[in-house]
Amino acid sequence: MNKKLLLLAGLIIWLGTEGFSQKNPVADVLIKNAHVITITNGTLEDTDVLIQDGIIKEIGANLKAKKNIPVVDATGQYLMPGIIDAHSHLALEIINEASSPITSEVQMRDVIDPFDISIYRALAGGTTISHAMHGSANVIGGQNVTLKLRYGTADPEKLIMEEAPRTIKFALGENPTRVHGIGKNLQPRSRMGVEAVIRNGFEEALQYKRVWAKWEKDKQDKKINSTPPKYNSRLQTLVDILEGEIIIHCHSYRADEIYMLIQVCQEYGIDKIVFSHVNEGFKVAPELAKYTMGASVFSDWWAYKFEVYYSTAYNAAILTKNGVVTSINSDSDELIRHLYHEAAKTQRYGGLSDDEALALITINPAKQLGIDQFVGSIEVGKQADLVLFDKHPLSIYAIPQITWVDGVKYFDRASDEADQRLKINVKRSPDPFLLSTGTHNCMQDVDMLFTENQHY
C-alpha cells in the first residue's frame, strides 16, 4: 500500500473513532460581580470568574472575555462550587447485588441510568457530583462510581467522572447480618461475623495474589509446570483494595464496629477508608481523624432502626472540630436537592462557620472521593462545576439559580421547563399521578426473599 493511501486510511479510521470517543462537553462562560464563595480562600466580593473549556481560568475583578463567550451578570448573587454528595444512589437502575456477602466484582458503572429525572432535580438543588454507590446489603458490596450530573445524554458513560479514583462499598452491622445471616443462614449473622467475612476476604485475596505472582514468575522463567490459575475479579478487587488503589466507603453506625474496621484496615495496611452515616462517629472522632479519610454523615437522621438510636445533630460539628474530614450526604434522591439546608443545620447544632459548613458539601466530600484536586472549591485550574444562589446558600431563603458542570449550564431557573424527562415510557398512560419516580434507597433490589422488612 502506498504511503498516501495508508495516511488516508489512518485518517478515516481516526475520524471514525473520533466521532464516538468524544470528550465530554465543556463550555466557556464569564460570571460577573458575584459574591464568590471559594471555600478554600474565603468569600471574594464583587468578583468575576472566567471559565474556558470547562476550567476556571481566572478569578478577579473586571475580567474581560472574548467576544462570543456568554456573560452572566451575578450582581448580588452567591457563586459557590457545585455541591458534592459522597453517598447517593441517584441515577442507578440497580442498587444491591444482595446474593453474596462479598460482591466486590460488581460495578455500579454497569447500571447507570442517564434518564433518571432525579438527576435534573439534583442539579436544580445545586448538586453537580454524586457518588453512586452500591447498597448496604453486603459486607463488601460493589464498586461505586463518581458521577458528574451531565443530564441530557443517553450514554451512561458520559456521566462518569473519569478522573475519579475507584471506590468500593462496605457495610457493617444490621443490614448485612439481616440479609445474609437471618435471610439466608450464611455468614455473617452477627457483628463478629461481619469482621470475619472481611478478614477472610482479605486473606483469600492475598492467597490469590500469591498464586498469580507465582504463575507470572514461572511463565517469565519459562518453568511452567501448571496451568494458569483461574481469574477471579472478586478477589482481584480485594487485592486492589489492599494495594491502595481503591477507597473504601463503609456504611456504619456504631462506634464499636467503626473502630473494628479501623483496626482491621490498620492490620492490612489500608489507609484509604471513609465511613458513611457514622451516627456514633462522635465517640471515635480522634481515631477517625487519625486513621481515615473522614466521615460522611447525615445532618439529623436517626432512630429508624435499633443500631441508629445513639445519635446527635452535633455529630458533624464534633467530627469537624476533632479534625475529621467530614461531609454531609443525602443517601436520598430527595435530600440531594437541598444539601445546603443540611449543611446549614451544623450552624444551629454546633456553630460551624460558613466556610466550615459549606466545606461539608464541597471540598470535604471531594477529598473523600479523591477528586479534591479537580473540584470542590473555586480555584484557578479547577473544573468549573458551579452553582449560583440568589442569597447566601446557608440561608433558608436561598434558591439555586444556575448550575454548571464543566462550564456547561445544565440548570437555569429562568428557563426551567416543567417536563424535564429525557425518556417517556410509552407503555405508561399519561396519567400525571403515575409520572413521579420512585426514590432509591440503601436496601433496594434486596428481594423479600432475603429480608422480611425493608430498612435503610
Binding site: 437502575e93 440497580i94 452500591h134 501448571s226 496451568t227 410509552v426 400525571p432 432475603f450
Partner: protein, 560 residues
C-alpha cells in the same frame, strides 16, 4: 445432591440431530397410506417474482426440485416430471426468516438444589449459566404451532434456548418444512445471552451478570490456554472438564456469535460495553429503542435484530377532563412523540444503512404484519422491510448462500401471495418450504375442512393400539373409515364407520373387527376439540379403553 458429573455430559451434535429425527413407524409398504408425494419437482408459471427486494420479474417461471430452486426464467419448458402450479396474478417472495423464536423449545430440566444449597455460590446450571445446552436438543416440533408461523410466510426460524438465566444455551436454525422430516438446518448457530437472572441466587441482578460475564470470558481464554499447555506438556496435571467454558471458547475465538437479547436502550448500551471490553462477534436481538446509539452500532458493525413488537398507542384516546392533571396537553404531546419514536425506529436504522433483521419474539402473531405496516407508514421502505425478513437475516445467520433470495441453487423457500406484499388485501396463498408445498388458499381450507385425517391411539391391556381415522364430508354428511392392526396379524385393516355422528364438540361411531374366533362390535365416543379428541372405546362384551386422537396436519395435497 446430584453430582456435577451428571451434568457434564458432553452434547455431541450427532446426538442432538438423532434426537431431533422424528422416527416414524416404518410402514410395511413403501407408501401404505398414499401420503407420499407424486413428484418432488414443481413448476410455478407466469408469476410475478421478487427474487430479492430490489428486483421484480414479471411473468416468470420457477422450477424447483428436491427442495432446490433449479431454474428461473421466462417461458421455460415445462419438465415432464414436474407438477405445474399456475402462478398467474400471484406474487412470489423469498420465504421469511424469523431471527428469534421460542416456539417448540422446552425449558431444560435443571438439577435440584441440594439440601446445603448456598445461594451465593450455586452450580452454574442452577444459576441459569448453561451455554453447553442447546435449543436444538430441547426443540420438539409441534406442527400445529409451527404451522401458525408458516401460514404467515415464515420458512425458517432461529430457535432460542429457553432458560431464565444469563446464558441459556446455543441457538439453532430450523426449517418450517414437512413435519415428517428432521428440519434442523444449523445447530450451535450462536450463543444466546440475556440480562436476566434466576433471582434469589448469584447472579441476582444485571450488576452480577456483567461481572460474571467478565470472569467467564477471562476464564474461557485461560481455559483454552490451559488446554493447549496440557496438550504439549506431560508434566501438567489433568485439566478438569468444564462444559461451561468449553461452550464459550468459540465465542472468545470470534468463531461463534454472541446473540444478546436486549429489552431496553440501557441493555443495548451494556451489550456494546461488553463487546468494547472483551471482543467477540455481537448481534443484538429484540432492539426496540435507542436510536441515539445508531452511529455507534454502525461504526462497530454490530448486527441488529429489531423487535416486531410495538407499544400500544395509549396517547390518542385522552383521559376524561376531570382526570386530566396540570400540563395534560404537554404530557400528551410528549407521549405521542415518544410513541412515534418507536414506530420510526426501523426507518432510522434503514437511513443509517444498517442491514437489520426482525424477530417475532414477544409479538402476537396477529400483530406481526399490522406492526410491519405501521413501520412502513412511518418511513420504513417496503424493500427494506422485505430485506429484513429475507436477505438480511440470512446474512446475519451466515446462510445467505442457501437462503434469503430466490435464485438457482438456493433452498426452495418461497411465499406466494395474492397481491404485492404489504398491500392491503395481500394474503398468503401458498408457502413453499424446503421444496414442500403448503396451500393456505381459501379453497384449500375448505377442502381441508371436508377431508380430515386423524391419528388415534387406544390404551388396551395388550398395549397401545394405533391407527387413523379418515373423514370425508359429502353433501353435509360425514363418512369415515378407520384403520387398525389386524388381530389376525395380517397387517393394517380398514373398516367403514357406522352410525357416524360428528359435530363441533362430539364424535361417535362404531365398527366391526374380525378376530380368528369372533366378530367384535366396537363403539367409540367422546369430546371433540377442533384438533383433539378424547373419549372411550367400548368393545362389546369386553372392556372399555381410553382413546386419544389428534387431527393430522400435513402438506396439502392439492398440487401434488
Amino acid at each position: 445432591m446430584k453430582s456435577k458429573k451428571q451434568l457434564i455430559l458432553p452434547y455431541f451434535t450427532a446426538i442432538v440431530i438423532c434426537l431431533l429425527v422424528n422416527i416414524s413407524q416404518s410402514p410395511a409398504q413403501s407408501d401404505n397410506n398414499g401420503e407420499k408425494r407424486v413428484t418432488t419437482s414443481y413448476f410455478l408459471t407466469g408469476a410475478t417474482i421478487i427474487p430479492s427486494p430490489d428486483k421484480i420479474l414479471s411473468e416468470y417461471d420457477i422450477l424447483f426440485k428436491n427442495g432446490i430452486i433449479v431454474k428461473i426464467g421466462k417461458n421455460l419448458q415445462a419438465p415432464t416430471d414436474a407438477k405445474e402450479i399456475n402462478g398467474k396474478s400471484l406474487f412470489v417472495y423469498p420465504g421469511f426468516i424469523d431471527f428469534g423464536n421460542k416456539t417448540g423449545v422446552k425449558a431444560p430440566e435443571l438439577p435440584e438444589r441440594p439440601d446445603n444449597f448456598d445461594s451465593s455460590n450455586p452450580d452454574p446450571e442452577i444459576a441459569g449459566i448453561h451455554p453447553h445446552f442447546s435449543a436444538a436438543k430441547h426443540y420438539q416440533l409441534d406442527e400445529n404451532l409451527e404451522e401458525e408461523w408458516r401460514k404467515l410466510g415464515f420458512t425458517l426460524g432461529q430457535k432460542l434456548p429457553v432458560g431464565q438465566g444469563m446464558l441459556p444455551g446455543s441457538t439453532a436454525v430450523v426449517i418450517y418444512g414437512n413435519p415428517d422430516n428432521n428440519n434442523l438446518l444449523t445447530n450451535l448457530q450462536s450463543q444466546y445471552f440475556q440480562f436476566s437472572t434466576i433471582r434469589g441466587l448469584y447472579p441476582h441482578t444485571q450488576l452480577a451478570v456483567m461481572a460474571k460475564w467478565r470472569d467467564l470470558y477471562q476464564n474461557t481464554v485461560l481455559h483454552e490456554e490451559s488446554l493447549k499447555l496440557y496438550e504439549g506438556n506431560q508434566h501438567i496435571g489433568r485439566i478438569k472438564n468444564d462444559p461451561v467454558l468449553n461452550a464459550l471458547i468459540p465465542v472468545t475465538q470470534g468463531k461463534q456469535t454472541l446473540l444478546v437479547s436486549v429489552n431496553s436502550e440501557l441493555d443495548l448500551r451494556r451489550a456494546i460495553k461488553m463487546q468494547d471490553e472483551n471482543n467477540f462477534k455481537l448481534i443484538l436481538l429484540g432492539v426496540n429503542e435507542g436510536s441515539s446509539a445508531i452511529p455507534l452500532l454502525k461504526a462497530k458493525e454490530i448486527g441488529v435484530v429489531l423487535s416486531l413488537d410495538l407499544p400500544k398507542d395509549s396517547f390518542t384516546d385522552s383521559l376524561p377532563k376531570a382526570e386530566q392533571g396540570e400540563d395534560y396537553e404537554a404530557l400528551i404531546k410528549r407521549g405521542k412523540a415518544a410513541y412515534k419514536e418507536a414506530l420510526t425506529l426501523a426507518s432510522k436504522f434503514e437511513k443509517a444503512e444498517i442491514p437489520f433483521a426482525f424477530s417475532s419474539l414477544g409479538t402476537e402473531k396477529k400483530d406481526l404484519f399490522k406492526n410491519l405496516n405501521l413501520m412502513i407508514e412511518n418511513g420504513l421502505s417496503k424493500e427494506t422491510a422485505l430485506a429484513a425478513l429475507t436477505n438480511n437475516p440470512a446474512k446475519l445467520l451466515g446462510i445467505e448462500n442457501i437462503n434469503g433470495s430466490i435464485s438457482p441453487g438456493k433452498m426452495a423457500n418461497m411465499v406466494v401471495m395474492t397481491d404485492s406484499l404489504f398491500s392491503k388485501d395481500a394474503k398468503v396463498k401458498m408457502v413453499i418450504s424446503d421444496g414442500y408445498l403448503f396451500d393456505y388458499s381459501e379453497d384449500a381450507k375448505l377442502t381441508d375442512a371436508k377431508n380430515q385425517v386423524w391419528n388415534y391411539a387406544a390404551e388396551t391391556p395388550v398395549g397401545q393400539s394405533k391407527g387413523t381415522w379418515e373423514f370425508v364430508q359429502k353433501d353435509n354428511k360425514w363418512e369415515g373409515t378407520i384403520t387398525y392392526d389386524s388381530p389376525k396379524g395380517t397387517g393394517i385393516k380398514k373398516s367403514e364407520m357406522k352410525d357416524l355422528l360428528k359435530t363441533e364438540d362430539a364424535l361417535s361411531f362404531s365398527f366391526t373387527v374380525e378376530t380368528n374366533e369372533e366378530v367384535l362390535e366396537v363403539t367409540v365416543s367422546g369430546d371433540l376439540d377442533p384438533d383433539k379428541f378424547e373419549g372411550k372405546m367400548n368393545i362389546k362384551g369386553y372392556n372399555q379403553f381410553t382413546v386419544k386422537a389428534s387431527k393430522k396436519v400435513k402438506p396439502n395435497k392439492n398440487h401434488e
